[in-house]
Amino acid sequence: MVKLEAEDGTVGYGEGVARPYVTGETVEISVDHIIKHLWPVVREGNFTAISLGEDPFSTLNEISNCLPEIGSKKVIAWHAARTAMELALVDCLLKREMMSLGAFLPPRRNFVTYSGVITGASINDAVKNAKYFKLFGLRQIKIKIGDTNDLQKIAAIRDAIGPETSMRVDANGAYTLDQATRILEKLEPYRIDCVEQPLPRGNLADLARLRQNTSIPIMVDESLITISDAEQLIKANACDYFNLRLSKCGGLLRTLELADIARKAGIRIQLGCQVGETAILSAAGRHVAAYLDCVDFVEGSYGALLLSEDITQEPIQFGHGGKAPVLRRPGLGVAPLDRRLSCYSQRITWL
């Protein structure tokens, strides 16, 4: 997390979640990257001239593009680090103007609807969780697959939740092309709305082939980190959906750019999240989900449903039906409590 204090005392907060198996970033090297490369630029930057005007892209361009892109063999991209700093900067600048990110990225809806996610679990536990989601009124569920009991699990869950609930699956790159082709053929009768990352990142030809072999739409997650990834995926006709996650994709500007690329290519969007994210990332994700024209699935805002305690006084997790209102307070719309951040911090670095 980044806490940024401006000279006039305004404070902004940002968050990034490093996932070594996605972008290559660890927490340690992300923090190091912020200290060495991002903070010096922000410290010396003059942001008073930035006008929070009509075009969010051009304003976000000014803010986000002051943060340098540093190539490295260690990582695919420094996106978690970048997201943390960019969000802190945006939060700070908007709060200075008493402006909500929602005023800046106008929401197209008053509520965002979130999906439930069932992670690796026994069939009994997975069915139990599915029934809880049904009790909570969730109409969209994602199920993690990649085990030997996938078919039985999906069948049992579909039986528990009924035919109307949208069900999609996420393989996190667990399959080879042949395995994916076989399992997806068997899953087709269970009305799967899409399969996320069926193959590991890397082989676009196989992904494109799989897309031809199955009627289940293909969503990419770990295969989609950079703009270049997006362009190659489109060129290869390798997917139907992009899973956009702020911390994976590099913050607000990069995520909106990817969404625009998707829209122009006719690719549908999921606005995903980082498991374990706090209200800061959830809030930023909420604004983007409410702003984008067309988002089929949204994940996140689990708050204290997943965390023992969130870091804001006011909970922003979703409620019944997976619904959560658009946030309207200044900045990202949340007020982190410093005492909670301190309580849960493993290391604090003052710059």
Binding site: Y132, L135, L305, P315, Q317, G319, H320, A324, R339, C343
Partner: protein, 234 residues
């Protein structure tokens, strides 16, 4: 499914995990810094100081067959029945007896109120008040059930290791005596509630599982929300 039995087994499992926990054992054996007793008592205060408000809510939604029992419990919380003091006052006097000053007690009362605020501000996962009400009824009843069995032990470890006199620990010994009856009545109320509001056994068990997905006693009594500066003790 025997719902009464399912709920009671859940309470039993929660209580055993709590009383067998290293934290509880350390308090009971005196193998811990004295300030931990005051943190524990502070958390008890935060958990229970606004109990009449919760009981008031449960009274308002109580099924007709259980209204008398719930009303009796509610009035007792307020100090309008046989007890001379309201339960929050009993708890405050216990805190005073343990050495908490008035500023600390006031702060704990505020934190207890913050918990009510947090509960009301939290998005409702359930679709109706009947399910939410059941969740709250299950939680409140679980504390009555646990306190009827453990309150004496807890009072004793304050007396033996926390530097408190038994006469000052009334809240614990009062609950040890009264909550046995309340705990049994509460289990009956849960069954009445489910029948009155047409909540199926399956849904009752699901709401029970959701309410107790974490250990509720550990969560409340060993939490960090009382803070370092919330108690002063002589």
């Amino acid at each position: 499914m025997d719902i009464r039995s399912y709920v009671e087994k859940t309470y039993q499992a929660q209580m055993e995990a709590f009383s067998n926990s290293p934290q509880f054992q350390a308090l009971e054996r005196g193998k811990i810094d004295k300030k931990e007793y005051f943190t524990f008592l502070a958390n008890i205060c935060i958990t229970h100081m606004q109990s009449p408000k919760i009981l008031g809510f449960l009274f308002s939604i109580s099924p007709p067959d259980s209204t008398e029992n719930v009303k009796h419990n509610f009035l007792e919380e307020l100090g309008c029945e046989e007890a001379e003091e309201s339960h929050p006052d009993l708890l405050k006097n216990t805190a005073r007896g343990a050495g908490f000053d008035e500023t600390t007690i006031e702060r704990l009362e505020q934190k207890a109120q913050e918990e009510i605020r947090r509960m009301c501000n939290s998005p409702m996962m359930y679709g109706t008040i009947k399910e939410f009400g059941l969740h709250i009824l299950l939680e409140v009843s679980s504390f009555e059930w646990m306190l009827s069995r453990l309150a004496t032990r807890m009072g004793n470890f304050f007396a033996n290791h926390g530097g408190c006199k038994k006469d000052d620990l009334l809240w614990f010994y009062f609950h040890a005596e009264k909550d046995s009856q309340h705990a049994e009545e509460a289990l009956d109320t849960i069954v009445d509630y489910a029948n009155y509001y047409n909540i199926s056994d399956e849904v009752v068990s699901m709401i029970t599982d959701v309410a107790f997905r974490e250990n509720i006693f550990m969560k409340h009594y060993f939490s960090n929300h009382s803070g370092q500066n919330d108690q002063t003790a002589s």
